[in-house]
């Protein structure tokens, strides 16, 4: 590089940086910035776009009621584009450049794992709204989705029960990354503890964005044809679910013969699929849109109105789902914690989040555990209906405490139920 160019470039960079520094405090004085870190393009956009909308809606709701500590919230939306390293970059940008007080974001565990070091290094605060595999407790993260004992294990237990079809053989099918691999490791250990033989478990993985499920369906059929009742546990994530369910419907694999229970498929993912051939297939979550209670009615109405106002694509048929509810609950819990701590300082807020309670659309007053950064949540199992909604066929009596360290993984019994260094 020539010297003159170098000087010019440096001057330009400095000028830009200075401009950034000058403008920011002026804005930050009367608003609190919050970051929204969800993929708005790429394979995960199918699931995460709705979470961004939910977060914006919740922020608008809070602002309309006077904001947090008298300050309005200001959302900073970035698009990490289903690209895992980009998640870390964008998280860093949100924390250092935009100086947000909190970030709501991530769906896949691989994206969470890639932002974790950033939040740790910069002492940021992340609310993660999706069910996941556990095996993690970060001081800087609050998990508002389900841990394995709040979703995966009850779902498998249900399929083993008489009402669930008393399944004896298991296909563990997933996308090839950390969440499905870890969940299946836990499930395999759980199934073995229930006396299921090695030969009665089949594990299969496909890459992200995979769209040809012919071989997998044929394999499932063959595996199911060996005489014992078979069930499929699907941890397929993202838009691969659309071709998977299309193929499942076309191949005529009925839920009464081989039920498929999914952990990452909700109302939103099924919007693009003809659900008539899929009636009876299952999903396990902590919330379904079909639950009837006043909080949920208000939540659904709020989202429908928001979709209409924002002119979202196909606003007339928008749905709500579990991670959207978890996002909504997470933002409110953060608001309550800030008000309790009377500060947006990360350490003070972290200390205040534990023990927060909120009347959630799931119909329960749910609580953030005092220690383990997870919510106490009810577990629900639903069957797909012809209209793409879920019909709840099993639920726990009340909220269940999360066990992020699954007892089915050896060595976990020695781990503490709270983050290190807290």
């Amino acid at each position: 590089m020539q010297r003159r160019n170098f000087v010019k470039a440096t001057a330009l960079t400095l000028a830009l940086a200075a401009a950034g520094f000058v403008t920011q405090p002026a804005v930050a004085a009367d608003t609190i910035k919050v970051g929204i870190l969800h993929s708005l393009s790429g394979t995960m956009a199918i699931s995460e776009t709705a979470l961004k909308e939910t977060a914006l809606m919740t922020i608008a709701e809070i602002n309309a009621k006077g904001g947090v500590m008298g300050k309005q919230l200001e959302a900073v939306v970035v698009d990490p584009a289903s690209n895992w390293p980009l998640f870390a970059e964008k998280a860093r940008q949100l924390l250092t450049q935009d100086k947000v007080a909190v970030v709501f974001g991530c769906w896949t565990s691989v994206s969470r794992k890639s932002v974790n070091p950033v939040f740790k290094e910069l002492n940021g605060l992340l609310f993660y709204p999706v069910q996941y595999e556990g095996e993690e407790l970060e001081k800087n993260v609050f998990y508002t989705g389900a841990a394995p004992n709040q979703q995966a294990i009850p779902a498998v237990e249900y399929l083993m029960s008489k009402d669930g079809g008393a399944a004896k053989r298991w296909v563990l099918l997933g996308t090839d990354y950390v969440y499905p691999r870890t969940t299946n490791k836990i499930l395999r250990a759980f199934l073995k503890s229930k006396g299921v033989a090695e030969a009665d478990i089949m594990e299969e993985y496909t890459p992200f964005g995979h769209s040809d499920y012919q071989t997998i369906i044929a394999k499932i059929k063959k595996f199911a044809g060996e005489g014992k009742k078979t069930a499929v546990v699907s941890t397929i994530n993202g838009d691969s679910n659309v071709p998977f369910y299309k193929e499942l419907g076309n191949a005529g694999l009925k839920a009464t013969d081989v039920p498929v229970v999914a952990f990452s498929v909700g109302e939103e993912e099924l919007r693009g699929v003809d659900t008539k051939p899929l009636v009876g297939h299952l999903a396990a979550w902590n919330y379904f849109q079909s639950i009837k209670n006043p909080q949920n009615d208000a939540f659904i109405k709020m989202y429908r109105d928001w979709a209409k106002k924002q002119k979202l694509p196909k606003a007339e048929s928008v749905v709500t789902n579990d991670p959207m509810e978890a996002t909504y609950v997470g933002i409110h819990m953060w608001k309550q914690a800030v008000e309790k701590a009377k500060s947006t300082d990360v350490d003070k807020v972290i200390a205040a989040v534990g023990g927060q309670k909120f009347k959630a659309p799931s119909g329960f007053e749910i609580k953030m555990d005092e220690k383990n950064h997870h919510l106490h949540k009810p577990v629900l199992i639903g069957e797909v209906k012809a209209d793409g909604q879920f019909n709840v066929v099993w639920k726990t009596k009340g909220p269940v405490k999360a066990a992020p360290w699954s007892p089915y993984i050896p060595g976990n019994d020695k781990k503490k139920g709270e983050p290190e260094g807290k």
Binding site: A45, T215, K222, G225, A251, G272, P313, N391
Partner: protein
């Protein structure tokens, strides 16, 4: 539980007026599955038309309880319900209803059903339903107390192609489950026959899925075989031309939804020409504005077209949004064709295989039977000489590029039916397309055809024993090694036409 149902068919006269009974309705709306199932059995036992209608409503999810709320059922209740409905429908005058009912029953046979199945079998006149009933009856008597009946049943099951039957025969041929050696032998022989049939079916199914993948690869790569293979343009924006075709299909679906909702099922036919011309128009634009200034400069073309591909992706994001859009299969492409109980060929894939053949024919005729095709071939073989004898080489380049782009658009129509339609869908196919063209041999349409089908079938066979992730790796490694050994691909141009 089942035999309650079966009793009803023997004594149809035993009519309890359960359909109107509020107690049964209450039981049907009960919380516990056991209560619901008991109520279903009670209703089925009456065998009245109203009971049938009531059960049908319950199956459709339209039955309401006294509070006006839908009565919901779970899979276990649904299975019982479907079984009960099937038994009631066994005497339906309509052949298709009866056929479906027998298939439902055959998937869930137990010993108590044998007399009922025997009666239904003797009454049945339709041969294909009768054959199913014979098998179902044999399955029900496989564990009968009479060894002679067991042997007969095992023998009758030799013609089955059901994986469930195979498992039962296997169990019956083992000493632990069967004391008579005669029965064991018969069961084992039938087991072998069924197993062979199933293995054959499995192989056929695998070949079909390979064929299906091959036809998709071919549709994705055929346009590139013209632009890259024949014209030598390394078009990195090829995947985006596929995307344009897919979005054109989406747009046509929207047009039909709003303007011709009655003909919605046929939007796909209208989408074929629209996608072709939309992609061809974009192709012409690209060629006229950028690519034609770069002929003969491979590296610059590569960079320029890569830039164009990014621009096209962003354009799609701006116009249609970053999220995937929903393109529904028309009803005539939903569902599957059942060849055997163990293989169902999805209709959308069958149609796409046919469509790939149609496009291939179209390209072949265009290239070999028309004046335009002759010009294109002449220009590729010897540009200077073609120009000398009066072929307008510049215009031919444009038309050939437009043709390649248009065919990519057709590929997009096919992709929209099985994969997700989104702005970056093309990125996933560009590597596969180049793989096919390079493997097949640059400059050869036939090469692309063989390469696509070969890759499709090989990928599917590897996938079935090593999984999708490994299959992808193995295929890429194989292609790298193959290109090392044979850089010209499967089929190479020979003789004096070869440039340089």
């Amino acid at each position: 539980m089942r035999h309650l149902l079966l009793a009803l068919l023997c004594c149809l006269s035993l009519a309890v007026h359960a359909a109107a009974d509020p107690a049964v309705m209450r039981q049907l709306a009960a919380e516990e599955s056991d209560d619901k199932i008991a109520a279903i059995h009670k209703l089925a036992l009456t065998a009245e038309p109203e009971a049938l209608a009531l059960l049908q409503q319950l199956a459709d999810g339209s039955l309401k309880d006294d509070k006006g709320e839908e009565i919901t059922i779970n899979n276990r209740v649904r299975r019982e319900l479907e079984g009960a409905l099937a038994v009631l429908k066994l005497i339906d005058p309509d052949v298709t209803v009866r056929f479906a009912a027998v298939k439902e029953i055959a998937s869930n046979v137990d010993a108590a059903m044998a007399p009922m199945l025997a009666r239904a079998r003797d009454r049945e006149t339709e041969p294909k339903i009768r054959a199913l009933l014979v098998e179902a009856h044999a399955l029900a008597t496989l564990k009968d107390a009479d060894p002679q009946l067991r042997i007969a049943a095992a023998r009758a099951l030799a013609s089955s192609a059901d994986p469930n039957t195979k498992a039962q025969l296997k169990a019956q041929s083992e000493e632990a489950n069967e004391v008579e050696s005669e029965v064991r032998r018969a069961a084992f022989q039938s087991y072998l026959a069924v197993k062979d049939r199933l293995t054959l079916a499995e192989t056929l199914g695998r070949i079909f899925s390979g064929l299906s993948l091959g036809s998709i690869l071919l549709l994705a790569a055929l346009g590139l075989a013209i632009t890259y293979g024949v014209m030598g343009v390394i078009n990195m924006a090829h995947g985006e031309l596929l995307m344009i075709g897919a979005y054109a299909t989406y747009a046509m679906q929207g047009v039909f939804r709003t303007h011709f909702p009655a003909q919605l099922d046929w939007y796909l036919l209208a989408a074929v020409p629209v996608a072709f011309f939309a992609a061809a128009a974009v192709g012409i634009l690209l060629e006229r504005t950028v690519i034609r200034w770069l002929y003969g400069r491979a590296l610059e073309t590569l960079l320029a077209t890569w830039g164009l591909s990014l621009m096209l992706i962003q354009a799609a994001r701006v116009i249609f949004g970053a999220q995937n859009v929903e393109v529904a299969n028309p009803s005539w492409m939903s569902g599957g064709l059942e060849i055997l109980p163990s293989i169902v060929l999805p209709l959308n894939r069958i149609v796409i295989v046919g469509f790939a053949l149609f496009v291939l024919m179209l390209v072949w005729v265009l290239m070999n039977r028309t004046r335009l095709g002759m010009f294109v071939r002449a220009v590729t073989q010897n540009r200077a000489m073609a120009g000398c004898v009066g072929v307008p080489t510049g215009r031919i380049d444009t038309v050939a590029f437009a043709l390649g782009a248009g065919i990519a658009g057709l590929g997009g129509v096919a992709l929209s039916q099985i994969a997700n339609v989104g702005p970056d869908m093309g990125q996933g196919y560009i590597v596969d397309s180049f793989m096919v063209v390079v493997l097949g041999g640059v400059g050869q349409l036939a090469g692309a055809v063989w390469a696509a089908l070969g890759l499709g079938i090989v990928t599917k066979f590897i996938e079935s024993w090593a999984g999708a992730v490994i299959a992808k790796i193995v295929v890429l490694v194989f292609i790298i090694m193959f290109i090392q050994k044979r850089p010209q691909g499967l089929f190479a141009l020979k003789g004096r036409f070869v440039e340089n």
